[in-house]
């Protein structure tokens, strides 16, 4: 493989991680001022901040890898819908509090082992970002798992809503484990993590928490796909129009 190919793969892989973090951070930010309690309003904003921080580091690095002078703002705020490669799970609308919590739990339970493994990446920058993000993901798993148990094993109403959230989000979890040429080549080069190797651990975490929450894990069935190749849900365009408004209205502006 030529260096140019590997550079293109590394750019694509870093951008996917960045898009996942940025889009989930944007979704969580929508709760600001609307969460069920003041503590959770602050909590969700804090989780959002962690994701946005990760996204900033990843976009900045992606721009350096690409070498065409694009910075974090240009990569996050000036790409079009089809150019975003985040997984569909993170862009799902907030729904009720149960949906937001289950979305976070499914995603963070996957990211925690991913960051842990990525710490051993041969790419020093990805390894450094992973070392920070792993601690944050551990906290996000803990927070969302506690709420999953509280909601699932709570009142009849909260149980029903939590189960509905599990059932609704489940078809979007298969995409987390997809592997394509980019990931395959980078795994072989010791740079990326093979998501298939995380599946058992992810499943065990879900089983442990959902059992305690008296929630049923749906059987593996048909899984939705498309995010990694830029095909997104209907609501995604609305998310982008809000997220990108400032940079499009005042091109090049800086805080």
């Amino acid at each position: 493989m030529t260096t140019t190919d590997q550079t293109a793969d590394l750019f694509a892989y870093t951008l996917r991680l960045a898009d996942d973090a940025a889009i989930l951070g944007q979704r969580l930010g929508e709760w600001c001022g609307h969460a069920p309690t003041l503590e959770e309003d602050i909590g969700l904003a804090n989780v959002a901040l962690d994701h946005i921080g990760q996204a900033r580091a990843l976009y900045t690095y992606a721009g350096e890898v690409e070498g065409e002078g694009r910075d974090e703002d240009q990569l996050c705020f000036l790409r079009h819908e089809r150019q975003f490669n985040n997984c569909l799970l993170v862009e799902q609308p907030n729904g009720d509090f149960a949906q937001t919590i289950l979305r976070q739990f499914f995603f963070s339970a996957f990211m925690l082992p991913l960051w842990r493994e990525l710490k051993g990446s041969k790419d020093a920058t990805l390894a450094a970002i992973a070392a920070k993000a792993e601690k944050e993901a551990a906290y996000h798993v803990r927070h969302s798992a506690e709420w999953t148990i509280r909601l699932g094993d709570g009142t009849t109403e909260s149980h029903e809503r939590a189960q509905a959230a599990v059932d609704q989000l489940w078809p979007y979890t298969g995409e987390l484990f997809e592997i394509d040429g980019v990931v395959e080549r980078l795994v072989a080069a010791g740079i990326a993590v093979d998501p298939a190797s995380l599946r058992d651990e992810w499943h065990a975490t879900l089983r442990e928490v959902l059992d305690e929450a008296t929630l049923r894990l749906p059987p593996d069935g048909w899984f939705q796909t498309g995010g990694r190749s830029g095909r997104h849900s209907e609501s995604f365009g609305h998310l982008l129009s809000q997220m990108q408004y400032m940079q499009r209205a005042w091109p090049g502006h800086k805080w």
Partner: protein, 173 residues
Amino acid sequence: MTQMGSRLHDIAGESARRRAFEVAAQVPDPEVPVLTIGDLGVLRDVRIASDGTVEVDITPTYTGCPAMAVFTMDIEIALMAEGFGKVRVNTVLSPAWTTDWLSEEAREKLRAYGIAPPAGKASRRALFGDDEVACPRCGSLDTEKVSEFGSTACKALWRCRSCAEPFDYFKCH
């Protein structure tokens, strides 16, 4: 430059570097003003480049910590006020910051300020590993967590059951 001149130059350079480090280390955390970036372990390194630019390395406590931009500005202002002409502040991510880097003195300052310092070693934390946190006001261990998150990314909200006061807890990380 003669050999002697070069040595004198090195000594002068090292003393300027140390002075720059001391000045930078005194910059307070905007959100926990009782601690400086030296206390926090956020300040990692200070070098002086051949053109005289002071290079400062800082590391974030949390990836998205909004205080980083303020740190950067405050470090520049503090060094310029001390006569350093050019300053460049870099953010480094590795090794990742940990609460284990807080000195005993820093922990005491936090406690006196009303924030419970992180309990134990970061490495021992597990999925539901609850920390045993002493109330910073009365010292009681009869405390409970109110929320995983507090007023900033680095803190959680706790309450003391003995003296009934709520307090911030600096998360073990």
